[in-house]
Symmetry: C2
């Protein structure tokens, strides 16, 4: 017997038939003797409609009213799933944020959960009732409804699992787990049975969008064991856990890629102390996130600075730097949107030498030029021309021995 | 300067364009210096969709979960209208039942309002903010969302007007007021500038469905002045008020009709004490409402008992009486669904003689046979064959001098 939080995303509850399927799955867990709490998203499409109405009425809508409108999507699903469960003989009760309560910091549209009051839900679970919790929302200090921002239902589920001291948080989605890379690119991609929080974070933030990043950070902080699995199959999913739980750590867990990046080079910047700050501080002030940064060795008293950023931020970054042309004193700006970032991720690389070397060799062997390199403790990323993305991912997947036998 | 509650029904907020129109109307009242609170229904069609989902999942759905699901419709409208108002420069804030709170007795699906906490809303109105209150709902003693049942938003509006000590409750709907009779039948029907609560109740319950009956009862009890008017025109509506407020009371306010009735006759019942109870007590126990009752004079130790009831109840009423055939000892049951009830309503008839006489004479003049008669202090009703409905209504409308000049 375990205590579980089961979370179902929008496609898993898209219509009444799927809500019935979810009910059947929950009933199965209850029949197996588990104590179960459920977290639900809005029915697929519902949130977009509600958001669309707010935006159409006013592009600068009041975030408090936006939250009041948009949070209804999950409330509907919670009530419907409770009815579906009762119909098949499972005692269930819906809960919205203010009822539990799920106390948030009151930042509308992007609230953070401060505290979940778990005692009453635990009491009911122990008495055999299944709480169905509306995800994505809570209540602020001023008794206004707050939402956690897009994808926030994953975070709701993990936070609830922590508050309920659950043994595991199962996130049901439309993929059946976390793969060594994108199966649409590499047919031999392998589903991972386990992955560490850190690896999941790196894979998620570079493109393998399975779990919302915030939910993984929270799971790592609260040591919540998370399982990612499909609501449309019975196959086991991928367990996201602490490093200690994984017996035989592979050197590399997976290969991620992102085509959302652009590269910006500031040419012939005077090579003097403080010039990097002169470039990057104004960008940060403008709210532009910079990812990889390289600065070449100086030759003639000037240097080239290259960095990557999200493609959508490129026009704003250019405008910021152009306005600083005279004060920085560079020769020109060169932008390139036709790039991809390829990352090799694995906690095993901490104790294994040669991970980067294997990467560079594999790419060189396919004639792929590396434009920028950046490394972290559990990741090596390179920037390459976008047209080589699939070739690079396949080459690396094979080079690290990740292909299905 | 007045303090107003403005209530907008589902067709008045059916889409974003209409919500913008409602916002403009509210802004106008605010600009005129009034303190305004607004009550909104769900967007037309939204409630039906939510109710349909509950019913499809389970015909015997849990009323607590039904309330959780269905109450979201008004929450969405309240948030959207707040955004629409802010966009045109009016300070507004949405409120759902638990936030105010609107405390109800917790009877799910048909809750009654116990108490509305008005102080905070009054404070905000005095500071120039417009509260937008989600109609149709409140919160029960167990902190569960409760709905007031269909049409409950009118009741929300009247109860709020009482709690806020408003000068008037304006109910915006898709008709522009209360007429002397159905304008689809009588082209010369006249819009009433005033009507008493009592008359409104009689007119509403016999077919002129403009305001929900419960809301009128509450308005009468709390002495809330209610105005019925159209959200699609600027014409003045009909004021529903206390009798004292109406200077020159007409004898008859209007002519109502209902085709929802059926007539059931129990023939040759033994004419002895207690026989009426033997017939009507079991019907009441089965939850069947009986309307008009007549008992003919006894001739041969037996009598005929005739009564009317809602058409939809006829099969159940027959079944109840057939099961009692031996104990009551009647000869036969005769049912007739092809009947209509025509009512003449007016508080003025208390002090004017001859109201019934005028009615009988007008009907006789058109060759219309009266099957059953029933009278109350402010109403005379007759049952006639259904095919004479329009003819009878027109004849009476003219006979009482109600036609537009």
């Amino acid at each position: 017997m375990a205590r579980l939080v089961m979370k179902f995303g929008g496609t898993s509850v898209a219509d009444l038939e799927r809500i019935r399927n979810v009910a059947a799955r929950v009933a199965q867990a209850v029949a197996a003797g588990d104590e179960v709490a459920v977290v639900v998203s809005a029915m697929a499409g519902a949130t977009n409609q509600l958001v669309g109405w707010c935006q159409e009425l006013s592009p600068l809508y009041d975030a408090r009213e936006y939250d009041t409108v948009v949070a209804t999507g999950e409330q509907v699903t919670a009530g419907l799933l409770a009815i579906a469960l009762q119909t098949i003989g499972v005692d269930a009760r819906s809960w919205v944020g203010w009822q539990i309560p799920i106390a948030t910091d009151g930042q509308h549209g992007k609230a953070r959960i401060d505290h979940i009051e778990g005692a009453e839900l635990i009491r009911r679970m122990q008495a055999g009732q299944v709480p169905i919790v509306a995800g994505f929302q809570g209540v602020g200090p001023d008794r206004r409804i707050t939402t956690l921002g897009r994808g926030g239902s994953d975070t709701s589920a993990v936070a609830l699992a922590a508050a309920l001291q659950a043994d595991r948080c199962d996130i049901y989605t439309d993929v059946d787990g976390v793969y060594t890379t994108d199966p649409r690119i590499v047919a031999k991609a392998r589903k991972l049975s386990h992955i560490t929080y850190e690896e999941m974070l790196e894979l998620a933030s570079v493109g393998a969008k399975v779990l919302q990043t915030r939910s993984v950070e929270l799971a790592m902080k609260e040591r919540v064991r998370v399982q990612v699995l499909s609501s449309f199959s019975d196959a086991p999913g991928t367990l996201v856990v602490d490093e200690d739980e994984i017996m035989e750590q592979e050197m590399v867990a997976g290969i991620a890629y992102s085509r959302d990046e652009a590269k910006l080079t500031v040419r012939r910047v005077p090579d003097r102390p403080g010039v990097a700050a002169a470039v990057f501080f104004p960008l940060a002030e403008a709210g532009i996130n910079v990812d990889m940064i390289v600065q070449n060795v100086s030759e003639d008293g000037t240097t080239d600075m290259t960095f990557t950023l999200n493609k959508t931020e490129l026009p704003r970054a250019r405008a910021v730097l152009e306005s600083l042309h005279d004060s920085i004193g560079y020769a020109e700006l060169a932008a390139d949107s036709n790039v991809a970032k390829i990352s090799v991720v694995g906690v095993g690389m901490r104790s294994h030498a040669g991970v980067a070397g294997t990467m560079f060799k594999a790419l060189a062997g396919r004639g792929i030029n590396i434009q920028v390199i950046s490394t972290s403790e559990i990741k090596v990323s390179v920037l390459i021309a976008a047209e080589y993305t699939e070739l690079a991912v396949r080459a690396l997947h094979t080079a690290y021995g990740l292909d299905v036998a």
